[in-house]
Subunit: 160 residues, 4 copies
């Protein structure tokens, strides 16, 4: 089994810079999460963006669509900011013959308490267990694209 | 969606007692892992054993089988010691109409670096994405019961 | 032995709010750090501010000075933002008969990798081992007030 | 400032081997603790033993005594198992002109919740703030050698 991970930024990879008292997207922690998870399958990690998902543009989504469309790989896990994750899932929903799972985190992976490790674990299982299609793995659930939204007030994903 | 978690002990829940310089099975950390994972589905946790899996008996497995057999719930995640996890999966393989995922850890959940959180995340996704049947989620993979063994020398699970 | 901890905010207590994609001062983690540190002395924790130290005013420092001045306690550990920690230490340097140690963190205590626990450990030892006076415990060193500055470019404390 | 760290084993460095379901002394985590603590002083780390302190012999203590005695360095932090830490401190108490602080942990440094980081932070502050002599830094306190014992039943250090 081979899984291609694509990282695009978002809260999961946020880092705190004291010098500036700012909080920005840093290098992806997906590699560390997979290493700690003792995974034994083949994979690679393709970093394409380091953005807060509110700053993702239609061009960014188009680029992601093309990248996956032109790739023979059939299993993709995409780490993504939470605010526009459903929007990107919708964009990718047209792709056929591939299982694509988007995930991310509501608390940065660099925090002592974070949902990042759990979520990447979910995505890894979903991408091998689900039928081809596009899914979002967040808050302990695997949602099909088009059937999920982020409730920002409650800061969680829920069924449409 | 409702998931019933059954805890039986194993490395995932091991704790270190300095007073005795020993390492024993402690209270399950599944509740903490689900809380940190920000899960939003309904669940409960049923602790039935606190054993190293090498000490599990045929009676223990029979008890587990009966408990699930007599339960209307259709999704079960079982945390289990790694050494005899495939054996317990085989025992449960006769049950129909239920999705059952066994998982555990090669490093205790109380460690700073552990595969426990990742594995429980995998199990939670697999129990909702997989067809009814019995599975083992370890080392980044979801194995059907009967097709997996623990390679003790390499300390990992692999396809038969 | 009794130690009074005073928390004023700063990076040590910063928390990330995904809803706003912001990073603000949250509840102090000093209590958790002392609990994990298995401390056996008597203490209390007095939260007086939750500020980035760049926002601390002369009035805030005067308030802190008065609070300690009017308090019979002789050992104080103050958690404080790093940017103006030396300035607050200078302000308190006039107080006599008390050992006062300021500390904080360059990375939030809520991070998986942080200097917060190490620094509070240093402060706790310094406040019982040092002569009365005012000190800063950061970057593995115990500096007397007036002999230390934060090098912002290098993001570390160093001897004047 | 230069500090020499000597590691001898003990709970602080214990590691869990699932293959054997055993718990043994592993490589020292002192280097990681100092790195996370963002220390800026000069130091080195000298590993001399990897033992549970109940297995330390008179010869081991003599070796440690000779090593420090023949060393020009004046500041030593020794990580040590907790059960016989006071005994080793007594042995070293005859050395003059050096500040020596022993510390360790009641819970392994590899655990998510551990006193190890806090304790090493205390030791680092004590070794620069204390008069020459031998000390034990545990449970939030800096005890002079000869005035402290481990209460095994309560699993903590206390004043004699």
């Amino acid at each position: 089994m081979f899984i291609r991970f694509i990282t695009t930024g978002g809260t999961i990879d946020k880092i705190y810079f004291d010098a500036l008292s700012q909080f920005e997207v840093g290098d992806s922690l997906v590699k560390h999460i997979l290493t700690d998870g003792l995974v034994e399958f083949d994979y690679d990690i393709v970093p394409i963006l380091q953005k807060d998902s509110l700053e993702m543009t239609d061009e960014d989504r188009e680029q992601l669509y093309e990248l996956i469309s032109n790739d023979d790989t059939t299993r993709f896990v995409i780490t993504h900011g939470t605010d526009t994750m459903p929007q990107t899932a919708d964009k990718l929903a047209g792709l056929s013959g591939k299982t694509i799972v988007l995930t991310g985190a509501l608390t940065p992976a660099r925090f002592r308490t974070t949902d990042a490790v759990f979520n990447v674990g979910m995505a890894v299982a979903a991408v091998q267990a689900c039928e081809p299609g596009v899914y979002i793995a967040m808050n302990g659930q695997v949602f099909p694209a088009g059937e999920v939204r982020k409730n920002r007030k409650e800061n969680r994903f829920e069924k449409l």
